[in-house]
């Protein structure tokens, strides 16, 4: 699989979807929680990111329902999206391990 750049908001979006299908506002909430309040997606940014991820094949639309007069569109992670997220998580983990090893070798306490 070709390496794909995963920015922080995309990483948290894919991570939120890794737990199952979610609608728009649930994704906003979950990204906020997962990032410790660092990434707060506004609706325009959320749908721009979801449009791109759907076009890339990482995310798919998984139905809609109307709740209290409002349309809720659900999204799911595709197998390709799971691969992108897994590759990125492994890459971050490797980088973190290298950094910690070097810090310990240099005598720094962590």
């Amino acid at each position: 699989m070709a390496h794909r750049e995963v920015r922080e908001p995309t990483f948290y979006l894919l991570t939120a979807l890794a737990a199952g299908r979610r609608h728009g506002y649930a994704l906003v909430q979950e990204v906020d929680e997962l990032s410790g309040g660092k990434v707060r997606l506004k609706p325009g940014t959320l749908y721009a990111a979801l449009d791109r991820l759907v076009a890339e094949g990482s995310v798919a639309i998984d139905g809609e329902e109307v709740v209290a007069g409002r349309l809720r569109r659900y999204f799911v992670l595709t197998p390709e999206g799971a691969g992108v997220l897994g590759d990125h998580a492994a890459q971050v983990e490797r980088a973190a391990r290298v950094a910690l090893r070097r810090l310990r070798a240099g005598g720094a306490t962590t």
């Binding site: 728009g24 906003v28 506004k42 609706p43 325009g44 209290a68 409002r70 349309l71």
Partner: protein, 233 residues
């Protein structure tokens, strides 16, 4: 759940009107889903009106959807956005200096007789557009990317709004072709798929200053007039 449908409808109308920022085809497919998310967020926070940040966010992404079909890739869009920022800023500075800040244009006696002159001494509504644009550029080169995007998106809207707005208040405005061009450049710059890298900010500032300086320095004689050298007898 008890729902006040009249309140819900008026709140929805307040939010829905901003979706005009998106092209019609996008709205047909996605408007209700985005609106549902937006209203869910508003309800959770106890709001009945969108925040300024949400509106700016929607303007930026709506403009991006309008720009996307004519740009073949994100990389082309990113380069076009950089050029748009530089060229637009130079045009704005030249228009501000030549069209607004210099003394009113005084043609030579007999030259352009009868033609109305509207150059100089804050004679048009142009500064209403130029000032937010220049603040946006300063934000962009100082790394405040989000503020820069919002101000450029606002500049794009202001440029178009000045056309009917100036007429409504019977005020002079810059030419329509100039305003439409700046609206387009602002939309391109506001919707760049990536912010300028820190290493690119200084070159952008330098290129902008050079182009602006060239336009202003070469434009001043065009406006104020240059006496041709005397021919030898």
């Amino acid at each position: 759940m008890n729902i006040d449908w009249a309140l819900a409808r008026s709140t929805e109308d307040r939010y829905r009107r901003w979706l005009i920022a998106y092209p019609r085809r996008w709205r047909q497919v996605n408007a209700d889903a985005l609106l549902g998310t937006w209203l869910d967020a508003a309800q959770a926070e106890g709001r009945e009106r969108p925040t300024g940040g949400e509106i700016a966010d929607l303007l930026v992404h709506g403009l991006a959807e309008r720009v996307r079909p004519i740009l073949p890739s994100a990389e082309v869009h990113r380069k076009a956005a950089r050029l748009a920022l530089i060229i637009g800023t130079a045009a704005v500075l030249a228009a501000l200096v030549l069209g607004e800040l210099l003394p009113p244009y005084q043609p030579r006696p007999g030259f352009l007789a009868g033609v109305p002159h509207r150059m100089g001494a804050l004679s048009t509504t142009g500064p209403v557009l130029y000032l937010p644009w220049l603040v946006a550029v300063m934000a962009a080169v100082s790394g405040a990317a989000r503020a820069a995007r919002a101000l450029l998106a606002a500049s794009s809207v202001i440029a178009l709004a000045l056309i009917p707005g100036s007429a409504a208040f019977d005020l002079n405005r810059p030419p329509v072709s100039f305003l439409v061009g700046l609206a387009w450049l602002a939309a391109l710059a506001a919707t760049s798929p990536a912010e300028p890298a820190p290493s690119h900010r200084v070159p952008i500032a330098v290129e902008t200053v050079l182009l602006s300086g060239w336009l202003v320095i070469s434009g001043v004689p065009s406006v104020t007039g240059v006496r041709p050298p005397a021919r030898p007898h």
